[in-house]
Subunit: 399 residues, 2 copies
């Protein structure tokens, strides 16, 4: 591991040159473009060429916090392997890993400069009408191909053991399920919403539900998850998308990834009254709700179609995949509720809400997000998709 050094631009260029096998005299330029919480990201390109490459490197600590929170660099190796595996299942929508170097905790990725971060596109009110259905297809493929429907006992155990990701999944356990539901120093609670947060922290029935979701996150190893599928992990372009940033991946419940992306679309929904006059905001809210519907429908249809080819005689039983989808839906709503809460009062917020400048409007949106998050956790078992849509209309659009 002695080759490791924290890259500066010149190091990123040198790594890219070697890893991509570029001529030693080809002129290359680079810049740091990372906006995430954990890593360094460089773009390296040759002047005049439309496409460059991306160099992503893990630091031995959490970038946005600093050296006081050390974190295994091994996450870069795990992420590269997850992206490669997901890329086998769904090359169309998974960022391509061109090279990875465990000793340097670095990887070379395809350049997605012609894509936008989906969250940013949504904040600019830019519609990508196919993105949701594509993301559903991506999830169906990556989940199916690591699930018990596709892998026999021994193969699945071999894969799940290989992708054990203890340090980062332990962080998810803490910042997703534990901190936001109690008064914890890692939380980030706006003073104006503290009363609502305290109400949540005193809500014992809610915390029992969250405990069950956390327990399942730990124990229910259904598929190799992305693990952090918010709208900032999705790059969109006309007619296509690419999923990036899989360092939180590992085996877990299939509903988790769905719940996280549902929640991030719903957080955008909740942010609309803070960002637009009602009549305009409602149109964007409808778009997001339609995206959730499209995402779920494409996920469900594709997963069921794939499951029909399962070699497992029990799981291939007619009707089981449909029954399983009902369970996944309920799980997804529960996880969506947790994500909405934790992105509002936990350590890591979203620009959709925090970017609302007027504090009174911002807090009103946060309040909406907390309330919807709580409802989703509490009522996940009861809400079929019709009831879910009704809830959204009642709680948000009409509310």
């Amino acid at each position: 591991m002695s080759r490791y050094r924290i890259f500066k631009v010149a190091d990123a260029i040198a790594y890219a040159r070697e890893a991509a096998g570029l001529a030693s005299d080809l002129p290359l330029r680079g810049e740091e473009i990372g906006d995430g919480n954990l890593n360094q990201v460089f773009r390296v390109w040759s002047p005049g060429e439309p496409h460059g490459v991306i160099v992503k490197q893990a630091l031995p600590y959490i970038r946005c916090i600093g050296e006081s929170w050390p974190l295994t660099r091994d996450r870069a190796r795990i992420e590269a392997q997850i992206l490669l595996r997901h890329g086998e299942a769904c090359p169309e929508y998974t960022v391509a890993v061109l090279h990875h170097d465990p000793a340097l905790s670095a990887m070379l990725l395809e350049d997605l400069s012609d894509h936008r971060v989906w969250r940013q596109a949504l904040l600019d009110d830019q519609l990508f009408p196919e993105a949701a259905a594509q993301l559903g297809r991506y999830l169906a493929r990556v989940h199916y191909h690591s699930s018990a429907f596709y892998l026999d006992y021994q193969a699945q155990r071999a894969v799940s053991t290989r992708f054990v990701n203890p340090e980062l999944m332990a962080i998810t356990e803490a910042v997703f399920f534990v901190d936001p539901f109690r008064d914890h120093e890692r939380n980030n609670v706006e003073p104006l919403i503290r009363a609502e947060a305290e109400q949540l922290w005193a809500d014992d029935a809610l915390k029992v539900k969250v405990a069950a979701l956390k327990h399942d996150f730990r124990c229910k190893g259904e598929a190799l998850l992305h693990g952090d599928l918010h709208t900032g992990s999705v790059m969109v372009a006309a007619g296509t998308l690419k999923v990036i940033d899989a360092e939180f991946g590992g085996y877990g419940p299939i509903g988790f990834d769905l719940g996280v992306i549902f929640a991030n679309l719903l957080l955008n929904v909740c942010s609309q009254p803070g960002r637009h006059p009602a009549v305009i905001g409602q149109r964007y809210q409808q778009q997001r709700i339609e995206e959730i519907r499209a995402l779920w429908q494409s996920f469900r249809a594709d997963f069921i179609a794939l499951a029909a080819g399962s070699a497992d005689p029990a799981l291939a039983e007619a009707g089981y995949a449909q029954a399983f989808m009902r369970r996944v839906w309920r799980d997804a709503l529960g996880y969506a509720g947790c994500e909405m809460v934790r992105r509002t009062i936990g350590i890591a917020h979203v620009a959709d809400l925090d970017g609302i400048e007027d504090p009174v409007r911002r807090v009103a949106c946060q309040r909406q997000a907390l309330s919807l998050g709580r409802t989703l956790v509490m009522e996940a078992e009861q809400l079929d998709d019709t009831a879910f849509n009704l809830l959204l209309v009642q709680q948000i659009i009409a509310g």
Copy 2:
């Protein structure tokens, strides 16, 4: 691995002498006492001494079938490690592993000659009034100490990875969840009950439920299971018991072990009309039902008491352990239903039913077992413990 040889009595004596550190001139005798399906078991003792030792050795195939079904000898290493781990959590009720030798696929176990196999005791109508509650306590301890309540993310992943047992758990998947629910050559169906078996194989709603139970068995790694906790894996004596034979162990849903032992007590219940006049048989049926109640109550009380000390801030939430127990109960009923079916028409039967000599009475009992098994799978979600007891009274005792 070249030291491996299939033990004869003299080899077992030599291994016991060396592993137990006995003097080279101490006279020792040995005999093969194995009655299981998989392994060789020897008792080795010194004439005049009340206690000997047990030598258990895995063969490279399934003993009851022969060399045509090869099976990893590594199961002996896994079993020894599971028994040692369970022994740390519950030394009182886990057979003591005195030594194990992975190369010989052999282990030295405490001699339980003063105990009886519980199944045999039940067939002799011998009551061990404390056995059920003790077994509940054993399950609470071994499950709790390998669960998310006790182990943090990294510790639990380390343990669950260490105890991956792919070959034997794949056998459970096949013979427990797959074969008995379809016409498979491995099944063993009495001709007189073939019509009922065929009805079951055509029951699509049942097979969808079984698929969900199988899926959870694969994916829901809640605790380090025993994996085959029938009444033949429990040795009883006055005031105590010891659990043996953990080669099918690995991570799985906590309800699985409970379901298997419930089912084996229920199979005994179903066998009573074939073995006794009604008025006597009903007394034994009541005993078994009381044992199931006592087992569940002691498991539940002990698990909840242990969970109160959980260091996990979410899972320690007041009321969560109780909510979790409701889920475990439902899982247990589902697995109990599968076990009843597979022990009646699958590859491995139980003496409780097969030992009934009169074929008409035997088949009537088998029919009862199949019917109750099906009901448990279908209604597991709805049956609380009151409804469960009512069901038993209606379906069996009054029926």
